[in-house]
């Protein structure tokens, strides 16, 4: 049996974060990466851009091809892991091999969540025109059959669904988005902001059927909950994702809204760490546990896990929801929790809503060019006491000038 000091299951952002974290404390020992996918790490959010033709296949890698050799990683592709044996500190691979680990990082990510529907095939792989939209395989499959005459129906007006809509609207005859919610991006935006986005997308020829669900999938049509029947050539099921917790659950690890970890990213199983979409995180802005399936979060968690695995004690306690997304020239920033005193402003160029509670910025939504939005993010992240800054300026135009002279000096005249 081969034994490795570091074994990572998964090969996406959290895994890469793990590698970089490990290398902050250990430049020697080899890292074994096991991935069920057949290819090198790519950036999952890029699939919509690839489908749209805005990025080339060879530019989709998340890290340079040399990354793994430079970091002394052994990557085994297309090898699913069957089982974790926490007592023995071993894992069983699908091909029967057993591998020992000293530190294990579970970065298995998430899988699409597909609600039960009549007519839904048992296995989507066996169909040719019904897809989820989270992997490159999904995108490849869609592109194979997408033609300018395609009628596309997308179930789900969340981030994934709308990115899919954006990718396909100019390459198809029609795109119709169906969602049970009464607005688009229901988990990210509120009514007003949601409406701006919807109108923008509608102006770009995306159609919406809201407060409606698909009750049955037929061969060429879908049947909606309001009884209407609409035709499709391609059906995309983008209702949401769910964390991939099976390995840890089966090994006896604690699971909540994802794999439960401490603030060092260690699961309830000793020497088994977890990071990324498969985990549950504490949203610092609402003090609640959430499954924050967003890329920056995955990387940061992976990095913290890796550092701890290599003996560099580090904590991750600054998680909160954070999204930057653009749809056909319209940019949307959102972050944190929408509670507290609201400061809202709207102009033809920009819509903005800030949430301040107990003199701390809790969350915001910005639609517009979003420049310098990171200053808001930082105020949330650092829980900055807003009484020391120029609030009026903060609300109208975030900039370093909002801070007092000493803080400005710290920020601009000192090493970071």
């Amino acid at each position: 049996m081969k034994k490795y000091k570091y074994v990572i299951i998964g090969n996406s952002a959290a895994a890469i974060g793990g590698v970089q974290g490990i290398r902050k404390g250990d430049l020697e020992n080899e890292i074994l990466i096991l991935t069920a996918e057949p290819w090198q790490t790519y950036s999952r959010p890029l699939i919509s851009y690839w489908l749209q033709g805005k990025v080339k296949r060879e530019k989709m890698y998340y890290r340079e091809p040399s990354f793994f050799t430079e970091n002394n990683c052994q990557v085994r592709y297309a090898i699913p892991v069957e089982k974790i044996n926490p007592k023995e500190k071993t894992i069983n691979l699908a091909d029967g091999e057993i591998i020992g680990y000293k530190n294990l990082l579970v970065a298995t990510g998430s899988v699409p969540f597909v609600p039960p529907m009549i007519g839904l095939p048992e296995n989507l792989n066996n169909t040719t025109n019904i897809f989820t939209f989270t992997t490159l395989e999904d995108a490849i499959g869609i592109r194979e059959i997408l033609t300018p005459k395609s009628k596309v129906v997308i179930l789900g007006a969340g981030l994934i669904g709308l990115k899919a809509a954006e990718a396909m609207v100019s390459q198809s005859q029609s795109v119709i988005v169906v969602d049970l919610a009464n607005r688009v991006l229901p988990s990210v935006l509120q009514e007003k902001s949601s409406d701006i986005v919807k109108k923008h997308l509608e102006a770009q020829s995306v159609s919406f059927i809201l407060e409606t669900s698909i009750t049955e999938i037929l061969k060429k049509d879908v049947l909606l909950s309001d009884g209407e029947k609409i035709p499709y050539d391609i059906l995309i099921l983008a209702v949401g994702t769910k964390p991939q917790c099976d390995l840890v659950r089966e090994a006896g690890g604690e699971i909540g809204r994802g794999i439960v970890t401490d603030d060092r990213q260690q699961t309830s199983l000793k020497k088994v760490y977890a990071a990324g979409d498969c985990t549950q995180s504490l949203d610092m802005t609402s003090d609640t546990q959430k499954n924050l399936a967003i890329l920056p979060n995955a990387f940061l968690q992976g990095e913290v896990a890796g550092m701890n695995m290599a003996g560099e004690e580090t904590y991750y306690d600054q998680a909160f929801p954070l999204n930057s997304v653009g749809f056909m020239g319209l940019y949307i920033f959102s972050a944190g929790t929408y509670e507290g005193v609201v400061y809202e402003s709207e102009s033809p160029e920009e819509y903005k809503k800030l949430f301040i509670k107990d003199n701390v910025l809790k969350g915001f939504i910005i639609i517009g060019d979003c420049m310098r939005g990171g200053i808001y993010t930082d105020l949330i992240r650092e829980q900055t006491d807003l009484s020391t800054i120029d609030l009026e300026m903060l609300i109208s135009s975030p900039q370093i000038m909002i801070f007092n002279q000493n803080t400005r000096k710290e920020k601009l005249a000192q090493s970071h």
């Binding site: 805005k54 990025v55 930057s324 005249a413 090493s415």
Partner: protein, 150 residues
């Protein structure tokens, strides 16, 4: 490592650093051409903030030791080179602006092609010193090693 630092005490708010930065990264050899000959004026990667009481200072990428932008980058287009310079590979940027959302200094912007535009310390331009530093008329922008200096 050497970084761009600003001394607001000496910043006059002339905004020439913006002009010099935009020019240096425009690819043109003549400033007039860069600004007056093209449809789109070149964009600066450094921005001067003007406040009340004649306070001015320029803000550009701090090249932080903990670069939130790099960690948040969804494509891997943002990297840190061996000298600690945070660089952007334009060909891999898809313009998602996550980096802008992550940056605590508000010092990132986007170019005419919608991809990220940021200060790279003129690594590919002036050589030696960043253009904003070289041309600042009052030494308000300096290129120094202040690591460990408070």
């Amino acid at each position: 490592m050497k970084r761009v630092y600003v001394n607001e005490e000496w910043c006059l708010g002339c905004h020439l650093c913006e002009i010099q930065c935009a020019f240096a990264n425009s690819g043109e050899t003549d400033m007039v051409k860069a600004f007056n000959n093209s449809e789109k004026k070149p964009i600066s990667r450094i921005t001067v903030e003007d406040g009340a009481d004649d306070i001015h200072f320029a803000v550009s990428c701090r090249h932080c030791d903990t670069p939130w932008c790099v960690k948040g980058c969804i494509t891997g287009a943002l990297t840190v080179n061996d000298n600690g310079v945070v660089q952007i590979d334009e060909t891999r940027c898809v313009g998602c602006r996550t980096c802008i959302l992550m940056c605590p200094y508000g010092c990132l912007t986007v170019g005419h092609n919608k991809t990220l535009l940021k200060c790279e310390l003129c690594v590919e331009n002036a050589g030696g010193e960043p253009s904003c530093v070289q041309r600042c008329p009052n030494n308000a922008i300096v290129f120094e090693d202040r690591d460990g200096v408070l």
